[in-house]
């Protein structure tokens, strides 16, 4: 009987073993390509994030290649979808690094997925740049992990400062997504700063991503009569929240973070979104010539105004390319060193400098929903 068992188990692994030993596929004969991996959620409920980022990345790659590439080689991006799940992101990263032998990785938008990817990139010493993960823990994983966006402590600070000083309000209620650690983190940082600036959080309510009915939470919020409601969630729920808030008679403005950045927000929220504010990485109304030029080129390629995430994807790629140009060679350690030394890079989302913690030091913009579009309201600088 026991031998039967051993046979069985051995057979089971024998099935797996050839897979393990066989295809030890080496990189294809060195082509004149620099391979860059990208991991994004092009499917699933956050598909807009992944698709927008990828479009930005793609545009950047095309433009770089059009000007001759880097050190004589063209860039090629290999995109793998992670369906919005951290374990898929981790497997995708392992595959990109060990199978496709990429030189660097761009990803991911959501911090939970970046956190799954970063240890792997760090282990293999492949530079990883997140375009828009704002959780501080991501870059703490290792010195090969970078980001070109601000971090949540800063974003929470931005909206708290804006509320206290620009809107001059003292009482805010919070409605956060307990299923989303971005939302939880942002709420926490907002609360810290707002209290320091003399404000008061009158109520802290929560919901779960996927809910469609928020009337109970909003009814409770309504009873405390706040001056504004901070909703640091994703656009998928915020639209409905706004509608239901308005229909319950809550007239105060709503505030949020970069998770709002999607045209769907306006579609679902409709008129209820008017007058809401949120922090973002850039504004399409930025009059600077290079931003407008970027918007034009993007429109020509994709027939759509770029969202903040698309712009971040573009900037992440450009920063990477710039680092590769400045680097002594195309070895990953040299690229890493060049990335860490990035100073005052003129991206479309502002001047990007990478600090000691490998985070980007740059200002945030506050946008306001006016007449069905995102209008620029203010810029808040760090420090």
């Amino acid at each position: 009987m026991n031998m039967r068992l051993v046979t069985r188990v051995t057979l089971g692994f024998a099935v797996a073993a050839p897979l393990a030993i066989g295809p030890n596929i080496e990189a294809q004969a060195a082509e004149d390509f620099i391979k860059i991996g990208e991991v994004g959620s092009t499917t699933g409920s956050e598909a807009t994030f992944g698709v927008a980022t990828h479009q930005g990345v793609d545009l950047a790659i095309k433009e770089i290649n059009a000007t001759g590439g880097i050190k004589g080689k063209k860039l090629k991006v290999i995109l793998l979808d992670d369906q919005g799940k951290p374990e898929e992101a981790a497997t995708a990263t392992t595959r990109l690094i060990t199978q496709d032998k990429v030189t660097a990785i761009i990803g991911e938008v959501a911090s939970s997925r970046s956190l799954a990817m970063a240890p792997i990139a760090q282990q293999y010493k492949i530079p990883m740049i997140s375009p828009s993960s704002t959780n501080p823990k991501v870059t703490e994983i290792g010195d090969y992990i970078f980001r070109v966006c601000f971090i949540d402590p800063f974003q929470g600070f931005v909206m708290a400062r804006f509320a206290a000083e620009n809107l001059k309000i003292k009482r805010v209620a919070i409605l956060r997504d307990v299923k989303n650690d971005y939302s939880v983190g942002l709420a926490k940082y907002f609360t810290e700063t707002f209290k320091k600036l003399g404000g008061d959080i009158v109520l802290d309510q929560s919901y779960s991503a996927g809910d469609i009915d928020f009337k109970s939470q909003l009814t409770a919020i309504r009873a405390t009569k706040p001056d504004a409601i901070f909703v640091p969630g994703y656009y998928t729920e915020v639209g409905l929240i706004a509608r239901q808030a308005r229909s319950l008679g809550i007239k105060v403005p709503m505030m949020g973070g970069d998770g709002w950045d999607s045209p769907k927000l306006l579609q679902i929220g409709g008129k209820a979104m008017e007058g809401a504010y949120f922090s973002n990485h850039y504004s399409a109304e930025d009059k600077s010539p290079h931003v407008q030029a970027f918007i034009d080129r993007y429109r020509k390629a994709y027939k759509d105004t770029p969202s903040g995430l698309a712009a971040m994807g573009f900037d992440a790629t450009m920063v990477l390319a710039d680092a590769m140009k400045r680097a002594k060679s195309l070895s990953t350690s040299d690229i890493r060193a060049a990335l860490a030394a990035t100073k005052d890079f003129q991206g479309v989302t502002g001047r990007i400098s990478i600090d000691q913690q490998r985070n980007a030091v740059k200002p945030a913009v506050v946008l306001k929903v006016v007449n069905g579009s995102f209008a620029y309201e203010s810029t808040i600088r760090p420090g």
Partner: protein, 359 residues
């Protein structure tokens, strides 16, 4: 009912403890070999394929443990991911807590034990916690009929997930990260062997007979004096234990845990492995688990073309077609050894014959 035909007498061994010295030795050798070979495998194989092997192992454990409940006991449990979650979180918390505990570190350093010894402790505790959850879930629900049981197990899976999400101690929505990477080939392989061994022994013992009775005709079983509820709960708890072990291995492979990882889709993936392999066939579960794990990776590139979760579309379609055309799955309730020529079978069963069990 082939299991009945195959044995002429009810085996009277106590569960798990009747191996002769020779057999114990051969087991020990196998496990030792796995550990010895382990670092060589890790260095020699492309890491990407290595993670696939690890995932194969984890899925084998999941499929075999679920087969015990769904296949051999005939209960439709679709909340297996919940037990996996319990095991994963407990194991991770244990290893992280021990790793940070100075007393433990001293103990390890002074006795020359490898650092990864913390893993089996985590896995055991995780498995026990999961078994506890299985017991708690099983006690009330196993009195229910098939359809209700399915929904209740689904519900428990969800409840466990929601609890994890709301418990700050395990990270809440952010989950746990920076779990030490301890799932090497040795541990995974030995866990797989252990699981298959235990389930096999369970099934081919008098306990197993009880489970089959529950599956075939519960009321007749009760009439014959079989305590069906207890049998079901036992199977449930055992299945949950191994799901917890698999969860622990998973946690130390992925190194990050979020409650969302253990949703209904994951339960469903294990269910389809069991169904595909054949409910009631351990070898079937092994083969199906490996097959589907590899398929998952192979479809990854296809996935990117379609922009949606094409894997779930394919899996569900396969399941429906399977149910309509070949509900027995690949192996039915046969084991892989049934395909060997009779002479080979007799030789392999040499040990058992000496004990007077099999033909």
């Amino acid at each position: 009912m082939e299991a009945v035909r195959r044995q002429t007498r009810m085996p009277k061994h106590r569960f798990l403890f009747s191996a002769s010295t020779y057999q114990t030795l051969s087991w020990g050798l196998v496990l030792l070999a796995a550990f010895v070979v382990s670092p060589w495998i890790e260095q020699g194989i492309n890491p990407y394929w290595f993670t696939i092997v690890i995932y194969c192992g984890i899925n084998i454990i999941l499929a075999v443990s679920l087969n015990l409940v769904n296949g051999f006991t005939g209960q439709f449990s679709i909340g297996h991911a919940g037990f996996m979650a319990v095991g994963a979180y407990v194991a991770a918390v244990v290893t992280m807590a021990l790793g940070a505990n100075p007393a433990w570190n001293e103990f390890v350093a002074s006795n020359g034990i490898s650092e990864s010894a913390v893993l089996p402790i985590g896995l055991c505790l995780g498995g026990i916690a999961a078994a506890g959850a299985g017991y708690m879930v099983g006690m009330p629900s196993l009195r229910l009929r098939g359809d209700y049981l399915a929904i209740v197990t689904l519900g428990f899976g969800e409840i466990i997930r929601v609890i994890m999400m709301n418990t700050e101690a395990v990270g809440g929505a952010s989950g746990l990260n920076n779990i030490p990477f301890l799932s090497n080939f040795g541990w995974v392989y030995s866990s797989v062997v252990l699981t298959v061994f235990c389930v096999w022994r369970m099934v081919h013992s008098s306990h197993g007979r009880t489970l089959l009775a529950v599956r075939e005709d519960e009321i007749a079983g009760e009439a014959m004096g079989v305590n069906t509820t207890q049998a079901k709960v036992r199977a449930f708890a055992m299945g949950a234990f191994f799901a917890g072990v698999a969860g622990g291995l998973y946690a130390h492979q992925l190194r990050i845990l979020t409650p969302q990882t253990f949703d209904f889709n994951r339960s469903f993936e294990v269910v389809i492995m069991v169904v595909l392999g054949g409910m009631g066939s351990i070898s079937g579960s092994v083969v199906a688990a490996v097959l589907l794990t590899v398929l998952r990776e192979a479809l990854r590139v296809v996935q990117t073309w379609y922009e949606i979760d094409i894997r779930m579309v394919i899996y569900s379609l396969v399941l429906i077609i399977l149910m309509l055309t070949r509900p027995n799955g690949l192996f039915g309730s046969r084991e892989i050894t049934d395909f060997f020529p009779a002479s080979l079978r007799r030789k392999l069963a040499g040990g058992a014959e000496a004990r007077g069990g099999v033909k």
